[in-house]
Subunit: 486 residues, 4 copies
């Protein structure tokens, strides 16, 4: 207990949800991709990771097997910068798994980039993990007390140690043994010299889908990766299901009981790509359009133009415009050359903030009543700058902000990078207070009911960030930590 | 004469217009930015270059002066990747000029990245050049025969040598002397320890504007750079005008007579950012919207949805949709993490081409009659892939391609990276032949008259790529070279 | 058993003695240096490692502690290339240990560079190891079967895992527990946030000495490191002794019983620096001079000049010359800019071999009868080239080779990089056969008795490489492996 | 005149002899090697440069030609570190020249590394220069006033510009034209696509020899490079001679009249390798032995042991010992892993100086009267530390320093890195004063007559550093600069 607090204070451990929150957006923390039985395994994984780049930009890695040996290449950076043709040639074989990791300040470093590959008593093993465990600290403490030596601060390494120290004979049994110990969110890919294994936590927090290409099985976080490599969607990995893919084909095993589902609704609102289908093959773009339409119905306004905050606000803005009959336009130009390393000039010209990324077209906005559609407000600082930019730089007469999701009041412990509760503006301020802070003429958030008008079975979703109903409770110590950190 | 041909064959010289044309878009080759008399000169130049990144992604550089000494930093890559805080600190002083260079294969290398900085008999001099000289080979041959030694293959170096070998006493007179010798396109920034000089060719091919920030003069290729640094637009540098900015303020000198103007119409159609105002403060986005509206009037079609080829096709598509009444939507999702180093996987899965960048939303397009709006067709290969993607991946019933510019039939010699005439599909094929090639249900190009319905004074523009009327003729040898290369 | 063989075949494990033997010299595999309680701890460790550079050139590392946290920096390369001033500043604190690692091909990589630093249940721990364990494979197999995950292929990591999984309460007890399990050679330095611990195996194979500087304790592989930092020699760490150095001072603990000593005689013959004193403060240069004198008495020859193979043959050659009365000279010039990365040109000019390093002075050797003194012959290939060089390049009339050690017939398992038995020319050839092979006019090796005329107590030394009397037996499996590898 | 001073003050120009003098040894500034007509041209040049590494360690480069094109690779660092196998493969063809550059602080940078390769009106040209021009500033100023643009601060670039701007038709005539303008020391190699040209200044300051290998001509600064590649010495390039080597063979042209020779005597004393033969095939080791013998005759002393300052003092020490009958030994052990980047620890443990490189063997020196032989004293600081080290660290009873050259009182302007006159201890102090400063029991320098007892024709040598008789006078301005700098 004392040790746990010390660990946390020393920032030695588990970077979620305690990682510094450096942007003003929630962010997914990972994407995974794997393929078994294809001569171009590593190349296709490279393409798949590229398609999933939006799920993590800090670093990426690919592990492959030529059936005798496993190979691994990983680095900080974007997929396209990391993998040269030469480097891809160092990944021979017909099995490969890959991982994108989200960019965070602080504890980010190469040793935390996945896949993690180790040698243990049964041979070689690689793992790629999307999600976040809520009992990782406790498990790590216990494992260390039994002699385990950890190399990274990633919670995913706990799973490896649980497998290595399991008394079961086979990897499959050891993996079931391991997941019986862990709580939280995990869409996992594992790989040995001959086999690929996919497993998804019983709540199904993060998406994970199975596809097929030239007779080879493919597994990916989102279906947009299938589109790029030319694979056909087969079905989702079910919550609690373990999928074993080897030369005998695909085998399904019930690994953990799944009393309820808790799909992340924010995947629908913001994280997933519009061209992906998630959680039972629902199209993300279509959902967002509907959110926009519903938002227009719930919160109409007299205005001359509807513009999105690009790029994520586009579908909802199109929906809002269509429903309201107010013309849609692109009033903010986005500079896509912005990376995460942008240097803010010092001294007098500081605080460029959002100007580095966005610039309004004055000719278009001048004198107009403008509806701006965005998907969410986190701390409010960015929204404030955007409203100001549209009014001052763009010359708008009125600025009406419409958010295509309910107010976000709670942090996520299941694989999303969020700030502490205290930093979430909606957890401590009323909508009117927020409106004043961001200086908009009007501000409205979508209702929770609006969201679920188009999505069947709201109880199948996790909406904890909107309503504090956390599907998996953290231990008491964890709760205290939150106090510690809020 | 023999030597010139040898030089060209050996690819030793002048990479424009003979550089390999590796993308399927025309591309601007440079952006320039400079500021005189501001404590944050290098930092602001860094921001300015970032705003102009779309004009060149191969490499960038900044040169600054602290009034005693000049400093220079340049590298291959994007502005945000090149300049760390540490590196910006190595650029002290209150004067700075910077340059973005377009990424081309082959002769691209660090030695061609600008600004070029040299020591010569009058002291230090730096130069940043947007444009292309048509008589550079002849001048280089002449200069070499008099003993000059060239370090790069950039045509801009010719200007430096003309200045260094001029018999005039002052830099200003030497610069006037130098530009009296050169033909072609040049929007130039020069810099010494104490002064910044801007000069624009008599035709005014490329844009170049003057702004003001905190009492300091700023010069940039496009006004979007002013928006980012917070500068106010003052006026354009006039064709043939030399602007001298020093501690006495700004001085205007008529450097070369300017019998006619020849503003590049493609800046309006594709190159410049929509939020910039060019050629007498005309808004680019507004022009493109008008092109789209005119296109809808010229070439209407029965359809269910209008989608742009992102991002450049967006304004024209919005115009087309508005005029036609067909709903606008974003049916192609663009992956913005694509850089120029993307490795195509080998063997069976080659030819990903445009899929790396774009993916259709099938849910949106399936069974629809789709109008796709793009700004131009170069070789047709990309358009063919996009049509196929919308039909097969997206499931569209019909695909109607509308191009918001006339057929491009001629290469550019004034600073745009274009393929040879033979490679321009519209120079050798009829519109119907192109339609068949790209497998569209219909294809229509904007007329030349349509373009100039909204732009006053068509004769002030260069439309050589549409109509072969080249404002500055190349010498006979050059003409032969074109045969050589076509 | 099966698994062990597999591990070895896959080259996954323990790079000694199975590392490719790429030079034609035996080589020490490590040097260690540590200091406790000095404000310049890391800087002095840097100097100490520099003085010990001859013991390992593959890579080096330093770990330091500022009493709250431990810091580590390590890289491939030479000490002077690895540590910049900036990097040394990242090693604050008053405790530091460092390690030099020998350059070997194949399994050499950064992850094997020491110190190894880990977090385990008792906190942070760093280790630096000179020597080689003979039961590392067995221990690793056992540890892995209990769930341990290894990160490197270094046998030293076994010690870490034994400490982490020990049931004892304190580090000291856990270390004693750990060394009770390991067999072989180890001169070890350990470090925690507050303490430095030194321990030497019961045989004392490798040297390890204690010094004192400004009231701080220093521990180093050789006393030449004390000379450079200005420390005074105190005494050797005794075989089987554990030395604990903390703020209370130095404490000695008997860690393992030491029934007999087995100091490595090759440290005296070749490895240690001439200016070091080893194994009870005996000067290395003086021992080697005596070897040379004894060699002259045992094997005199009529000759005109005595020359050493530089640099290691110099002391023995001086001794031989002094005793024989034949003039000493430096007839071979050594190029000291040779590193381990020298590229042999391909094709016709291959096989430069020793010429890259040595060149004879023809003016000096021409027509002479030359005695060449070297310290040992490993495979004979280098000796053959040197004899040829002296005869052909130098123009010598006769070449008489004298070796200041007995024929080396057995590989070393205690921390020396040696080839397999089969590759040792003296294990399979008579002296006369070797003489013929290397084309010398005469060849004589020092006798075993000659070596120990000047060194007291031969039974305190390990001479296994001369007489096959291995002080620590490897397990049966190991013996089989040797068959596997010879 | 004013401008010249400004140039010098700004440190913009010619780094010799004004480069910071960072070691306490004179140093040669370059080595050159070239070969024409051998399939392994670049590989052999690599080996040749390695053999000449002692002449310059700052950087190196190789230029090759495959008869159609010229290739160049150069970097900062040692030859063996710069050239990987991959990099050597980028240097195809059967002609190559290479250059080693001496390491100096300050103005050293990649742009000054040679060969310099340029394109000019006659095609491609590469140049490698050993030596120093005394009128480079004047020539540069003149060339710049006529429009020349310089890229480096190397005086060698002046030669290139003189060739480029010459009115002569052929390279040979232009080169003769160019050397008629320059004064000072130059042993030059030039190369075009098909030809190699060697030229040596009329005084012959620096050595330059011709060899032959497999029918190909080789040119190198020293013959030790011939030994390594297996070439046979043919003859020296004569002072004032131009050697043209092409497919027709070797042609000799008298390029400049050579009224007197001025071979650098310091090449014999210290710079050249002992295994080289210089200035008419005289062996360097033999000359140095004779210096040592003469020194013993001139300045005998009662002592127990003679030791060299390694490595350069070895031949003279052997000579001194042989003549005096006092035993020779190696009492100072040199650490050969010292590079030029050694970081001196800060604070309390500063001033390690020579200890980083040398350590005395106390057992050998304790209580003895020691003669130490070195080749020269520059500023005296190192000698002082060595005397102290031998007395304190080594425990010597008496320390007698013997220098195998006369007192160095003047700086060199012909290609040697020397400090200013004021810094040369012998220019301002008597021998007795120096003895006191370095705390030796006795100090003696070789006489000028002693040096030339064994070398025929002293008037053929430049001894300006001993006697101020400079063979080529610098212009008046230069003389003033010296005041400026002394």
């Amino acid at each position: 207990m004392n040790r746990i607090k010390r660990l946390i204070r020393n920032e030695k451990l588990f970077n979620t949800p305690y990682i510094p929150f450096t942007s003003d957006k929630f962010h997914d923390e990972c994407g995974v991709f794997g393929i078994h039985g294809h001569a171009e395994a590593a190349n296709l994984t490279y393409l798949g990771l590229h398609a999933l780049q939006h799920r993590g930009q800090e670093g990426a890695g690919i592990c492959s097997s030529d059936r005798r040996q496993m190979f691994i290449e990983k680095s900080m950076g974007l997929v396209i910068d990391i993998f040269s043709e030469k480097r891809l040639k160092r990944l021979p074989g017909d099995i490969a798994i890959g991982h994108n990791r989200y960019s965070t300040a602080g504890t980010s470093s190469l040793k935390n980039v996945q896949p993690i590959m180790v040698n243990y008593s049964l041979g070689s093993l690689a793992i790629a993990h999307n999600g976040n465990l809520v009992n990782a600290i406790e498990l790590r403490t216990e494992l260390e007390s039994r002699g385990a030596i950890f190399q990274s601060t990633a919670d995913s390494e706990v799973i490896i140690h649980l497998i290595a120290s399991s008394r079961e004979d086979t990897l499959h049994d050891r993996l079931i043994d391991a997941v019986s110990r862990i709580s939280g969110a995990y869409s996992l890919l594992l790989m040995t010299e001959n086999e690929m294994v996919a497993i998804r936590d019983p709540f199904g927090f993060r998406p994970l889908s199975i596809g097929m290409l030239d007779g080879a099985y493919v597994v990916a976080s989102e279906t947009c990766a299938f589109d790029l490599v030319g694979a056909k969607f087969v079905r989702d990995v079910e919550p609690g299901e373990m999928i074993i893919i080897n030369d005998e084909g695909m085998q399904s095993v019930r690994a953990v009981p799944s009393p309820r589902h808790a799909f992340c609704v924010f995947e629908c609102i913001y994280f997933a790509r519009p061209d992906s289908n998630v959680f039972g093959n629902q199209n993300v773009d279509a959902m967002r359009k509907n959110f926009g339409r519903e938002l227009a119905r719930e919160y109409p306004v007299e205005a001359d133009i509807v513009i999105p905050v690009p790029d994520s606000g586009v579908p909802a803005a199109l929906g809002y415009a269509a429903e309201s009959g107010i013309p849609f336009d692109c009033g903010l130009i986005r500079n896509h050359y912005v990376g995460r390393t942008f240097i803010e000039p010092r001294q007098s010209i500081r605080h460029f903030g959002v100007k580095i990324k966005l610039n309004p077209i004055r000719k278009l906005l001048e004198g107009k009543r403008v509806v701006v559609v965005d998907d969410s407000i986190v701390r409010g600082t960015t929204s404030k700058k955007i409203v100001k930019m549209i009014r001052e730089g763009g010359g708008a007469k009125e600025v009406h902000l419409r958010i295509s999701s309910p107010p976000t009041t709670g942090p996520c412990f299941y694989g999303i990078n969020t700030p502490t509760r205290k930093e979430l503006i909606a957890s401590t301020h009323s909508v009117e207070e927020i409106r004043k802070y961001i200086t908009a003429d009007s501000l409205q958030y979508m209702t929770w009911e609006g969201i679920f008008k188009d999505i069947p079975d709201p109880e199948q979703y996790c909406s904890a960030c909107f309503n504090d109903k956390y599907p998996v409770l953290c231990c008491q110590e964890k709760a205290e930590q939150f106090d510690l950190f809020t």
